[in-house]
Amino acid sequence: MEFELPSEHRMTREMVREFCDEEIAPIAQEIEEEHRFPAEIFDALADLDMLGVPISEDYGGLGGDQLLYALVTEELGRVSGSIGLSFAAHVSLASKPIELFGTDAQKERWLTPLAEGEYLGSWALTEPSSGSDASDMDTIAERDDDGYVLNGTKQFITNASVAGSILLKAVTDPGAGYDGISTFIVDPENDDGFSVSTEWEKMGLNASPTCEITFDDCWIPEDRLLGSEGEGWKQTKKTLQGGRVSIAALSTGLAQGAFEAAREYATEREQFGQSISKFDAVRDMIVEMDRKIERSRLLTHKAATMYDDGQDVTRISSMAKLDASETSREVAEDAVQVLGGYGYTTDFAPQRFYRDAKLMEIGEGTSEIQRLVLGRELGL
């Protein structure tokens, strides 16, 4: 059992934290209010080799492990949920599956630009009428000579409007259930019949684009099929296991950001002639935050470490995601409370963490679905 992070990991965390404090924190609220995707920040992340952390060096990545990736994601979440979410979707959902399931030629063409940060990627599973029951999808891919014709609508797709590639889940064999789903690489710039039909206004995370996308007789060549026909669902399960570790890390970061804001404020704010941190009620809230964050971080690091060791992380990644997402919402809510009226204003960060944290209990499987997964793991 080793609780000390290796030197490379500590140094990376320190550097990313410094970058986040200097370059992201000052604009974190502004980009939410402007609903602006901060392309310049992602260019800077690309320059610092952050957009391909767990991707092989052969394809422009850093070759780091899942633990390193989790640390980077947490640090981004500590200052901006939007940037953290777009980052995590890019890495876990849009890049990693190409590395895991793609041919060398596909990796060369589609993974390298993602890992080098030339553009962001996107991953499209959810549909307007299929969310938690994700395999029950209507988007269809029909064979057409040497390619496929795509038709359907995908909902709530992170990064779709800014992406250079989208991994699309579609039905290739309508009678086959789970085994009838396949994954395709879509080029949103050049594939005719693709369009972004809506960009959603949201409760939070408004600097991270969430899109409805439509495929209307969109033809793609057959070399865009990722893996084999019918493997799409198995790939999805594997992808989400890694993805959930990153959502757990992102949630831990949101909680950490809210906690730091509350702690600092509580030591400075005075009421009844003393610092409010001296009131048991306030102190206890902050101690609770610290306890929950430590717990969620431990689960996240354990899940990441088991992932790196090649173990089955179905249970632990789901548990980490469930725990950390609830931690982030609870801690952010209490942070608003600690700041009182100021906590309710947009001049202070806790309200932003509170808005952003709520998504963590919904995306990549709702908390209800995590409990379903965990119950199944217990044989219940």
């Binding site: 030197s7 490379e8 500590r10 140094m11 990376t12 320190e14 550097m15 410094e18 970058f19 320059d47 610092l48 080799d49 952050m50 952390v53 850093l62 070759g63 780091g64 980077v72």
Partner: protein, 264 residues
């Protein structure tokens, strides 16, 4: 060409702290690279990137704790690092600039650099004298408080801007080998890239003890020692104006009038 950059890990105290004996209680300290040294490293790495066959070596006098800070320099492009330490240093406590210059001069002797870059000062002790003292000790030319540097390696000349008192700048040419003490703002220090951090894990960071440098414990005897540590009484309060430029300018104007700086 070889550039030696002297660097130091310094302690920075939180806003509120307690004093423990002759020092600030460690609980309130955070250790990081001295700010001026960030600029010295960046300057050296830029020279390396612009020229060919330039080696950048960093040297620090510091305990094992400093290694990660020193490694961050390696991540930003320093080729290798030297850490000078020995139990004897821990016993000495405070090193004055002359003692430090003596130790560093032994490293200069080994390395034979063409250019030595130091920070103008260290954020903790703030002597601001080590660089120049080192130059005197090793008999190099020197320029202090350099805020612009144009190096002609072929001709062996560094054209520098030096920041003097009262906003005056001196432009001067300094012949190599030389020591330049680097001022903040001379460049924009980079963030280490993740790949840089990765590569830094396997770059050399060698420990030199006193023996290795041909020094003895008696060489560390310093004429200075710290006798007390206390927080000075603050004699006045700072007024911070918050708000738009118009609002704050009006507030400032009325304050200047009130205290009699401006009449009328």
């Amino acid at each position: 060409m070889k550039i030696l950059v002297t660097v130091k890990e310094v302690a920075e105290a939180e806003d509120d702290f307690d004093i423990d004996g002759l020092d600030i209680d460690e609980r309130y300290l955070e250790f990081d690279l001295n700010e001026w040294d960030e600029y010295a490293i960046e300057e050296a790495v830029q020279i390396k990137e612009d020229g060919d066959d330039v080696e950048v070596v960093s040297v620090t006098i510091g305990p094992e704790r400093a290694e990660e800070t020193i490694r961050m320099g390696l991540a930003k492009g320093v080729d290798r690092a030297i850490r000078v330490w020995d139990d004897a240093f821990a016993d000495v406590g405070m090193l004055d600039p002359k003692t430090k210059a003596d130790v560093l001069s032994a490293v200069v002797e080994d390395e034979q650099p063409d250019l030595v870059l130091t920070g103008v000062q260290a954020g903790d002790d703030s002597f601001g004298a080590t660089g120049v003292t080192l130059a005197e000790t090793i008999d190099f030319e020197w320029g202090a408080v350099v805020n612009a540097l144009d190096l002609d390696a072929g001709a062996g000349v560094a054209s520098v801007h030096r920041e003097l008192e009262g906003g005056i700048e001196e432009l001067t040419d300094i012949e190599l080998p030389a020591v330049l003490t680097i001022q903040t703002g001379i460049n924009e220090p980079r963030y280490a890239s993740l790949r840089g951090i990765r590569q830094a894990q396997s770059k050399p960071l060698d420990l030199h003890e006193l023996d290795d440098l041909g020094l003895e414990e008696s060489d560390l005897e310093s004429p200075l020692s710290r006798t007390a540590m206390y927080e000075p009484e603050s004699e006045g309060d700072a007024t911070v104006f918050e708000g738009s430029a118009e609002e704050t300018a009006t507030e400032l104007a009325s304050l200047l009038r009130d205290v009699g700086v401006v009449e009328g």
